[in-house]
């Protein structure tokens, strides 16, 4: 059919039928007759402007209402706003709306504190991953409330994932399996480390404990009593050991070890071992809160001591349990009674030991390491074979 003007067509007497063809005319070019379809209509009358802008049409975040600032301020492209993984390398992060929907991987070796500010938009959520050795701790800033189950706001182990969810006005919850309460807070002593005597140990960075004022404290337990000097701390030649059969305790290196008779122990009994050295080098050995014993040994003090493990001296390995090893770079004689605590391990945090291994209580009895909870805190230990015992601690 040749093209016709609309005025040349026969009028429709009634509502057009399905088969009737209605003509429309292109905006430009040769007039043609087209059927009425969405495509043809859109082609004939495309969107020419958005929000007052003309030309190529790009819809900006601000053209869309109802998404909230968490979405609209994140990026001009929604993709990174919702699908990015964020790396947090430091020990502190305050969340922002740009974190909404993201996976935040915390990889510091020390505890990472994540703070929820009161500026987040309703509906905020994100995932927190403990990507390294440092635990992830979540806290609420002023004006926000973090509702915890059992006071648990710390991760427990590497690769644990925590969902942070906003459920009301400035109200947040955490969702994860295996959260724990502040492991640094003293909540009695539950765990110890058990060494099987064959090859179990806890290694840490080889460290020199300089001669001078210092203190060593530990709790040990032996399932059987053998005449073996069992290692508490050891190195290539230096050692702190105790023989539960003959009752001697040793401190020093193989060429100049100081030894003192502090008394034998019974199988299955926790024993507290304590050593002080004054600034002038006077050593005193203690067992179970008893009177101090001046050890025998050459020279003043035990000299610089180089340790790199719990549980091994040369080819001798601990066959028993060790717990709550603490080291000070000061003479703690005046606090001896407090540290012994009547035969029960107690919170030492107020006494500021330089190194302090809780041997399972910080770690919640899981994982392959023990955290150094001392003020120095640099000697986290790697467990080789030793196992946490959550039913036996001094």
């Amino acid at each position: 059919m040749a093209n016709k003007k609309i005025s040349a067509l026969d009028p429709l007497g009634t509502t057009p039928a399905v088969g009737d063809i209605l003509p429309i005319t292109d905006v430009s070019g040769t007039p043609t007759t087209k059927s009425v379809t969405v495509a043809n209509l859109m082609a004939a009358a495309p969107v020419q402007s958005v929000a007052g802008r003309t030309g190529a049409v790009t819809i900006a975040n601000t053209d869309v209402s109802g998404l909230g600032t968490a979405a609209t301020t994140a990026s001009t492209d929604f993709s990174p706003a919702f699908f990015s993984t964020v790396s947090e390398l430091t020990t502190a992060r305050t969340l922002s709306n740009s974190d909404n929907g993201k996976v935040i991987v915390c990889t510091n070796a020390s505890t990472i504190t994540v703070t929820i500010p009161n500026s987040l938009t309703a509906g905020f959520s994100c995932k927190l991953v403990q990507g390294g050795a440092g635990l992830v701790k979540v806290i609420a800033a002023s004006g926000t409330t973090l509702s915890l189950i059992g006071g648990k706001n710390f991760t427990s182990i590497q690769y644990q994932v925590v969902d942070l969810i906003n459920y009301g006005t400035e109200l947040y919850v955490l969702d994860s399996v295996g959260l724990q309460a502040d492991p640094t807070a003293w909540s009695n002593n539950t765990y110890s480390l058990s060494f099987d005597g064959s090859n179990d140990l806890v290694s840490f960075t080889q460290t020199t404990f300089s001669d001078g004022a210092r203190t060593f404290s530990a709790w040990v337990k032996f399932p059987t009593i053998s005449s073996v000097t069992y290692p508490i701390l050891g190195g290539s030649s230096d050692r702190w050991g105790y023989n539960p059969s003959n009752g001697y305790m040793y401190l020093g290196d193989s060429a100049n070890v100081h030894y003192g008779l502090i008394g034998a122990s019974s199988a299955g009994a926790w024993v507290h071992l304590f050593i002080t050295q004054t600034t002038g080098g006077t050593l005193t050995f203690y067992k179970d809160g008893g009177a101090g014993v001046t050890p025998t040994g050459a020279g003043s003090g035990a000299g610089d001591l180089v340790f790199d493990n719990q549980g091994k001296i040369g080819s001798t390995y601990m066959a028993g349990k060790i717990d709550e090893i603490a080291i000070w770079d000061s003479d703690q004689t005046s606090n001896f009674s407090t540290i012994y605590n009547g035969g029960s391990a107690d919170d030492l945090s107020t006494l500021n030991p330089v190194h302090w291994w809780r041997n399972g209580d910080f770690e919640g009895g899981t994982g392959g390491s023990v955290n150094d909870q001392g003020s120095d805190g640099s000697l986290d230990g790697t467990i080789n074979g030793a196992t946490f015992d959550g039913t036996d601690a001094p």
Partner: protein, 75 residues
């Protein structure tokens, strides 16, 4: 239950430490002359230790207390 076997040191290259208690070769215990090693595992015996004599905890402690494994000169 932890099980213990003794192997020649030359065999350590064939060990899969994912199946052993010890972390890696640097942590494994050797006899004093270095000719033997102690391997420890829990559960089923790894195939690379197949045929080795298995020892219980008390049995291996008795072996490790001998002069072959423990020096008398310590302390």
């Amino acid at each position: 239950m932890r099980t213990y076997v003794i192997a020649d040191t030359s065999e350590v290259s064939g060990f899969n430490f994912d199946q052993l208690v010890d972390i890696d070769e640097s942590y494994i215990r050797k006899s004093l002359d270095g000719s033997k090693i102690l391997a420890r595992y829990e559960g089923t015996q790894p195939s690379f230790l197949s045929g080795k004599t298995e020892y219980t905890h008390s049995e291996i402690l008795a072996i490790l207390a001998t002069d072959e494994w423990t020096s008398d000169e310590e302390i």
